[in-house]
Amino acid sequence: MQIERQREVEIERWANFVRDSSYWKEQHTAFINAQFEKANNFNRRLLKTAGGKKKLKALINR
């Protein structure tokens, strides 16, 4: 319960920052890009492993 409340407080804090600041987008862009870079790099590494292609296909069709 306390963890959920803490999470809510953080969501509110960040939403208020987005509403009130003019530079949220810079931080947000880095955050979003990092996730895709990481995921796509992983997929490329997975593809090079034995059975990687099959696993990737399963990921697409999950």
């Binding site: 969501i11 960040w14 509403r19 947000h28």
Partner: protein
């Protein structure tokens, strides 16, 4: 100086620019919240388009292909069209990267029509894209989708777009959701 765009922004802009030549579109659900600053991950962007005839869709699909977008479900445009016509969504990726994906589907009912009628551009996103309006998104997230992620998105949207909120419209859309999406499901149970 132009604002630096993230991977999802670029992907959405390029895809929407092509779709816009052939039919109306709206971006719905998660990307509305994310492009409005919500700090969370997503694998896909959800786009709703007004249904088009097969011939027109083939032109759209071909142009998407030429611009590096490919459909994960099928390479055959006629098959992709069949999915859409049956109101099954299809996914496009760009340059053979698995992520991000555009989940595309045809509008199907009164609720979707309403979303098109009230579609909007959201200045805070910094993107020249059509989105389903904030109140519609809140109704979907709070009344239909209701996962923790969706409820957190709703909380975020309520704060950043406080001036756009209309509880009356949210209620109206929730009633439409009951009629169009939930009533049928109850019958199937």
């Amino acid at each position: 100086m132009a604002e630096k765009r993230n991977v999802l922004d670029e992907f959405a802009i390029q895809f929407a620019k092509i779709v816009d030549k052939y039919t109306d579109y709206i971006i719905v659900f998660g990307f509305v919240a994310i492009s409005s600053g919500r700090a969370r991950a997503t694998e896909d962007i959800d786009m709703l388009i007004k249904p088009v005839e097969e011939e027109k869709f083939l032109l759209l699909h071909t142009e998407l292909n030429k611009s590096g977008f490919s459909c994960l479900q099928s390479k055959k445009p006629a098959e992709v069209y069949e999915y859409l016509k049956s109101f099954v969504s299809v996914r496009y990726v760009k340059d053979d990267e698995l992520l991000p994906q555009m989940e595309l589907k045809f509008a199907k009912d009164e609720l979707d029509e309403y979303q098109f009628k009230t579609r909007t551009k959201l200045k805070l996103t910094g993107l020249d894209l059509w989105f389903s309006n904030v109140n519609v998104n809140l109704a979907f997230k709070e009344h239909l989708l209701k996962s923790q992620k969706d409820l957190e998105d709703a909380k975020h949207l309520r704060i950043v777009y406080a001036e756009l909120l209309s509880e009356e419209e949210i209620k109206k859309v929730k009633e439409m959701i009951d009629r169009c999406r939930l009533k049928g499901k109850e019958k199937l149970r």
